[in-house]
């Protein structure tokens, strides 16, 4: 009986899967076009899966092994099952392999089941709770029906008259498994992640983020430019269908593991954002419906079931509720912790900025200080609205060389908007002192410099970003320099990774990288560290965005500091809360992100936290009753500088140089 039933079951499931797949693909195709080389993507798929994706999944060895066993077992079992039971090729070898595959899958599914006993909050429940059972049903069912194929069980036991009941039960189990695995995969069940995930890997909108055989590390973190000339293109994303088709595909790949949720600083602060929920809301919107069936953690403070949307309806309602509330989108610090953790390579930050673009460019609804900051940027080329002529006020007594005078130097020192901020001016003065001590040939743009456009872009004002960027590029094009050095990771990122698309290609160094190079070249000498214990906070835009984790630590090591690492450091560093314009849009939560970060510092036991970003410094120093002092790496280096004796003192009688002190840098 089974011999008849199984092929019917298998091919029915496959047929339904194909129908479902077509329907699913149709959903994705609602999105706007995106140029992807489909063939190349498919060819690259195995490597992207086995190397890049595995690199992320492999951070959790247990779940990684579980997935290898379960998914590997399933893929093999499914293929073999079609051959053996679908097409009736009852080859004992194939049968044996099928037994192995299903056994492996079964072992994997045991671990999947174990994870579902008291699952962590980040994991979605609902249909996901039945998945281990379905996996077991499939694997046990397939195992049992295959036993006769290799002769381990007499056919008669199942096929004999009178055992029809057993056969029926087995068929039922197999049908359950097939239903979940094939039908569910294409019709929106938990297994959808395998189908959409594989295609997303192949057709990812950032092909350049994957490693290459030639040794390319694979990194793509710059936001993609909006084509402001194309009148047909929407200004950002208003409705789900405004995303590109492969972005929609990406949302569909979400496996609801909640790794993003676990690392999201806004979620932890009780702000109304959960990256996982956001992606699921996009899935709801793409198909049309409400979020009532969502079975994970909600946006803090926002009950599930009150939001609904359609592919062509607005994501954010003009009034009332639609798919997502605006404050969810404005809670994001663009720290990329979610993207870094996502095993499905979903690009949450791109999606959020796409939606912000619509809110800012089409609706003019940048909340709180957002509109003021953007107005300032338009009027004064800096977010604070300061007189653009005052960008060099902090250096009136330093006689900084200007690019407009020199035209050609080794290093162009990019000041950033920290030049208007008294705290960051200390960092800049320290950096100038370091550059001078190392006798670096450098100059600044001075009042010719404009904001890099970082904040405008993250707030969704692509037009202002591009205007600033193009004018900066035009200014830079007048001068010759080998590299740009900056103490601002945001400027570093934008100049290095986002100006390229607009025609500006530069070799940009964060100051920690540059200082590390100077030290390695023997151009700096430090006195031994006498302070207390030190930890290091990785700025998001230096670390996750640009992969620079080593240089700051090398500099600290050169200073004689042994870094007491925080639990969350390196690629898992917790954001300070200062990125993405979050302090400007200032969405209330239950806690403040910088407070949590300073608590991380406290737990490390360090008395001083070294940073390398003006934004981080501002956020962390804003913490009341902090247990640790906040110093930029440049300041620590400037303090430790041992000035080398200079030759050729003038004939005038000079007093011995007073020792330079910390406060001297500040004045």
């Amino acid at each position: 009986m089974l011999e008849t039933l199984l092929p019917i079951l298998i091919f029915t499931a496959l047929a339904l899967a194909v129908i479902g797949a077509v329907r699913r693909i149709r959903l994705w195709r609602q999105g706007r076009p995106s140029r992807v080389n489909l063939l190349k993507g498919l060819v690259a798929l195995p490597r992207r899966y086995l190397v890049d994706l595995h690199h992320v999944v492999g951070r959790d060895k247990m779940i990684s092994n579980t997935h290898v066993a379960t998914a590997g077992g399933f893929v093999a079992a499914a293929a073999l099952m079609i051959l053996v039971h679908g097409l009736g090729i009852a080859n004992p070898l194939l049968g044996g392999l099928l037994l192995l595959a299903s056994a492996s899958m079964f072992v994997g599914s045991l671990f999947v089941a174990r994870r579902r006993i008291n699952p962590p909050a980040r994991l979605s429940k609902g249909p996901w709770m039945r998945l281990p059972k379905s996996l077991m049903a499939f694997s046990i069912g397939v195992f049992l029906i295959t036993l006769p194929t290799v002769g381990l069980l007499p056919d008669s036991l199942i096929e004999g008259s009178g055992s029809w009941l057993l056969a029926l039960v087995l068929a039922g189990v197999v049908a359950w498994g097939l239903g979940e695995m094939f039908f569910g995969m294409a019709w929106g069940g938990p297994m959808k992640h395998a189908f959409a995930g594989a295609l997303h890997l192949a057709f990812h909108r950032r092909a350049e983020r994957f490693s290459t055989k030639k040794g390319g590390a694979g990194r793509s973190t710059g936001l993609k430019a909006l084509n402001l000339e194309d009148e047909a293109a929407p200004l950002g994303v208003e409705k789900p269908a405004d995303f590109t088709w492969n972005q929609l595909l990406g949302f569909d790949a979400c496996v609801q593991c909640g790794r993003c949720e676990a690392v999201c600083p806004a979620f932890a602060a009780g702000q109304p954002l959960n990256p996982k929920k956001l992606i699921q809301d996009m899935v709801v919107g793409m198909a049309g419906g409400s979020d009532a069936t969502y079975a994970g953690s909600p946006y803090p403070g926002k009950p599930v079931g009150e939001h609904a949307g359609t592919p062509h309806g607005p994501i954010v309602a003009l009034e009332g509720k639609a798919l997502v509330d605006a404050d969810t989108l404005w809670s994001c610090t663009t720290c990329r912790a979610c993207v870094e953790e996502c095993p499905m390579m979903i690009e949450h930050v791109d999606a959020i900025v796409d939606m912000r673009r619509h809110l800012t460019l089409e609706r003019g609804k940048t909340p709180n200080k957002g509109a003021e900051v953007l107005d300032n940027l338009i009027a004064t080329d800096n977010p604070g609205g300061f007189d653009p002529g005052s960008r060099l006020n902090w250096a009136a007594d330093l006689n900084l060389p200007l690019m407009s005078d020199l035209k050609q130097v080794d290093v162009l020192l990019w000041l950033g908007d920290g030049a208007f901020d008294m705290r960051n001016q200390r960092t800049l003065r320290a950096l100038v002192k370091v550059l001078r001590a190392a006798e670096v040939d450098f100059a600044v743009l001075g009042t010719e410099e404009r904001d890099s456009g970082d904040v405008a872009r993250r707030l969704g004002d692509e037009a202002t970003f591009q205007s600033l960027a193009k004018r900066n590029i035009a200014t830079l094009s007048q001068y010759r320099f080998l590299q740009i050095v900056t103490c601002d990771p945001h400027s570093f990122h934008v100049l290095g990774n986002e100006y390229g698309e607009l025609g500006g290609h530069y070799d940009v160094r964060h100051h920690s990288t540059f200082i590390a190079e100077l030290y390695d070249a023997g151009r700096l000498t430090f006195s031994p560290w006498k302070g207390g214990s030190v930890t290091y906070h990785d700025p998001c835009y230096l670390g996750r965005y640009n992969g620079e984790y080593d240089a700051p630590r090398n500099v600290l090591k050169a200073l004689g500091i042994e870094v007491k690492e925080m639990e969350r450091s390196g690629f898992r560093s917790r954001c300070c809360g200062g990125g993405g314009g979050a302090p400007i849009t200032d969405i209330p939560g239950e806690r403040r992100i910088p407070d949590m970060r300073m608590n991380d510092v406290k737990e490390s036991g360090a008395e001083l936290v070294a940073v390398g970003c003006p934004q981080c410094t501002a956020m962390l120093e804003g913490v009341v009753d902090a247990s640790a002092e906040v110093r930029d790496i440049a300041e620590l280096v400037a303090d430790a500088l041992v000035e080398r004796p200079t030759d050729g003192a003038s004939g005038r009688s000079r007093r011995p140089a007073a020792t330079t002190s910390a406060e001297e840098v500040t004045v």
Binding site: S390, W394, D397, F420, M422, R652, R655, S661, E663
Partner: protein, 690 residues
């Protein structure tokens, strides 16, 4: 950026100043070796530059000629080329930290003393006596005028060759240039007087000669007054005319403007407004001058607070603010603004200890900052943490000495506990601040309160420490700063008793602290003639009492400095307080409901009586030594301070000696009654090496 106006650079002539804050010219009384800017002088200005001050104009009343005496106020002597290398040291020290430095140059004319040094014959346009210095002078002759004009030019050359960034010609405080300007003093009928142009001629010739000598790329400014406040002196309109006249020459790079003339005691007090004045009382005069000139205007007078400075600059009243006493109190003022440490700025309280010392020819010191102008001795403005052991330091007494001791010990990183018997910190400052117009002295305490909180000093207020409590804390060091009590028991005839019901006299502390209500008809006997007596008299009169203040000294408030006794006198005369001198308090007795005070004339011995309902006596402080003697024998060092180490600003040798038990130091009035500065200085120099 809350202080953007302060931190906007400005061009003066061809010079870029990094911010808008100036330490304006004042006599430092630091120049040594015949008026040379030696190490103390250099370090004093270097500290300001290091602390971020934009421009220092040093050398108030630095002389250009040998007949303008240099020695009285140890001012800088620009009459000799000997000064040039010293200027180079000074300029290097300031420039190294990004600051700029100019010097005020002047000939003081009649405004000096002749009875010493070279026994100069002072000169003045019309030979009219100067009352404040009681100085007589001769009528200047044409030859002398041209000589002095040449001296100005040579002095400017020396400043330039020494690497300074400019000179400020003093035409203020009734120096020679403005002696020529003022019709009160210039009665000449020749070309150097009479008409407006005649009175302007000397200053103009000086300016022309200086400019011809130094050229266009060296700053030359003028300091002028905005209104002399003398009915027959130069009015604000006169000064506007004068400023516009010199501005029109195109040879002046900036004007420094201050309010008030100063050739009487009363107007002198305006020039350096003490704490009785409102903030920036004469800003309107400087703003008036700014209206008529085309170059930057600097104004200094009672600008002490960064917010105030920002407000003035933002309002555009003037281009630069002088924060001179503010920098004496805290040379790191600007750095602290930049560090976001506004609360850590030690703000000038207008006690005028600095300027009142200067008028006596003593070196300028700060009442509350003992490190100022002692930088050369190694006294630090920023206390470094100790690299040695962390000690348990117990300070007893929350007056200025105790607060400074606790602050310094805590900055060193020690574990500090401070006991104060009263419910609030401050000691005698708290009492002093009760008098009318003296409330700002409490700013000294306010700063310590903030610092001690920041440094997490364990404050035990309202707790009188006894021997057992102290020793329970197992201290490594005990600092006693317990002060003392009013010394009313010196003469039994005064009828003082510890029983308040029986005592015939009360102290000024009783009155100011509110412990004893003011009488209706009060005799206040002041044997000390410092602030406390006049403060109590002012307080009593303010509460409606009829007051006679009597002293055996030359006048009530005789020991109050030159810029402060006038503001007391204004208040006392206005309230009809009777001031009597040369009388000692012989005896007090009770007669019915009234008290009879018997006074004895010091010079005739004659007795006179006053029938009053309250006798208040100010007879200074008797040290409170009980706790000291209770602890002395148990302490390792027997309470002794090594004077050689103390005076040399070296660590007390006992600090490095091994041994069991605690070290004991006492300072301030519990040793001998001195003043706030003495207590703070001792605390700093003893505790800085803990």
């Amino acid at each position: 950026m809350a202080f953007d106006a302060i931190f906007e650079p400005i061009e003066i002539g061809k010079l870029t100043i990094r911010n808008r804050v100036v330490s304006t010219a004042h006599a430092e009384v630091h120049a040594t070796d015949g008026g040379m800017t030696t190490e103390r002088y250099v370090r004093y200005y270097e500290e300001k530059a290091k602390g971020g001050c934009g421009l220092c104009i040093c050398g108030g009343s630095s002389v250009v000629s040998i007949d303008s005496p240099q020695g009285w106020w140890s001012s800088v002597n620009l009459s000799t080329d000997r000064i040039i290398p010293h200027f180079q040291n000074l300029a290097d020290a300031v420039h190294k930290h990004g600051g700029k430095i100019m010097i005020q140059i002047t000939h003081m004319g009649r405004r000096s003393r002749w009875d010493g040094f070279d026994w100069s014959t002072l000169v003045s346009p019309s030979g009219i006596r100067e009352p404040v210095h009681r100085s007589t002078c001769k009528t200047i002759e044409e030859e002398e005028i041209w000589r002095i004009i040449g001296d100005f030019a040579q002095a400017a050359r020396r400043a330039k060759e020494g690497g300074l960034d400019g000179v400020e010609l003093s035409a203020v405080h009734q120096h020679l240039i403005d002696q020529f300007w003022s019709p009160r003093v210039n009665k000449r009928e020749d070309e150097w007087g009479g008409s407006f142009e005649g009175r302007m001629k000397f200053g103009l010739e000086v300016l022309k000669a200086v400019r011809a000598e130094v050229g266009d790329d060296f700053c030359v400014g003028m300091r002028i007054c905005g209104d002399e406040f003398h009915p027959d002196g130069l009015s604000h309109d006169d000064m506007k005319q004068i400023a516009a006249y010199y501005d029109a020459t195109g040879q002046v790079d900036f004007f420094g403007v201050i309010g008030s003339g100063c050739d009487t005691h009363n107007t002198l007090a305006n020039v350096i407004p003490n704490m009785s004045y409102p903030p920036e009382p004469f800003l309107h005069l400087a703003a008036g001058i700014k209206e008529v000139v085309t170059v930057p205007v600097i104004h200094a007078q009672n600008i002490k607070d960064p917010n105030q400075a920002q407000r003035i600059l933002e309002g555009g009243y003037v281009d630069l603010v002088g924060m001179t006493r503010a920098h004496i109190a805290d040379p790191h003022l600007i750095a602290k603004i930049k560090m976001g440490q506004i609360d850590q700025i030690k703000q000038c309280v207008g006690a005028n200890y600095c300027i009142d010392r200067q008028y006596q020819g003593l070196d300028v010191l700060c009442i509350q900052n003992a490190a100022t102008s002692r930088e050369y001795m190694g006294l630090p403005h920023i206390i470094e943490k100790t690299e040695g052991a962390k000690r348990k330091v117990v300070v007893v007494g929350g007056g200025p000495g105790g607060m400074e001791a606790a602050r310094v010990a805590a900055e060193r990183g020690h574990d500090v506990t401070l006991f104060e018997a009263a419910e609030v910190l401050g000691g005698q400052i708290t009492i002093a601040a009760q008098a009318p117009q003296r409330d700002q002295i409490a700013g000294i305490t306010r700063w310590y309160q903030l610092e001690l909180a920041r440094l997490k000093v364990d404050l035990r207020l309202g707790t009188r420490a006894d021997e057992a409590t102290l020793l329970d804390l197992r201290p490594d060091i005990v600092v006693l700063a317990t002060g003392g009590q009013p010394f009313l028991s010196q003469h039994p005839e005064w009828g003082y008793s510890e029983n308040a019901e029986e005592s015939l006299v009360v102290s000024t502390w009783d009155i100011l602290s509110g412990k004893v209500a003011p009488g209706k008809n009060v005799l206040l006997y002041d044997a000390i003639c410092e602030f406390s007596g006049v403060s109590a008299a002012d307080f009593l009169a303010d509460k409606g009492a009829k007051v006679e203040i009597v002293t055996d000294d030359i006048k009530p408030g005789a020991a109050v400095g030159g810029t402060t006794f006038p503001t007391y006198y204004r208040s006392l005369y206005e309230k009809e307080v009777i001031m009597s001198s040369d009388l000692m308090l012989h005896k007090v007795y009770r007669e019915g409901d009234t008290l009879v005070a018997v006074l004895e004339n010091e010079y005739t011995g004659a007795l006179e009586e006053r029938v009053v309902d309250q006798v208040v006596v100010e007879n200074g402080v008797r040290p409170d030594e009980a706790l000291y003697y209770a602890l002395k024998e148990q302490s390792r060092n027997k309470g002794q301070v090594n004077l050689e180490a103390l005076y040399a600003i070296q660590p007390q040798p006992s600090l490095s000696e091994e041994g069991e038990g605690f070290l004991l130091f006492r300072l301030g009035d519990c040793t001998a009654p001195r003043n706030t500065h003495a207590a703070i200085y001792d605390a700093l120099r003893i505790c800085k090496d803990f």
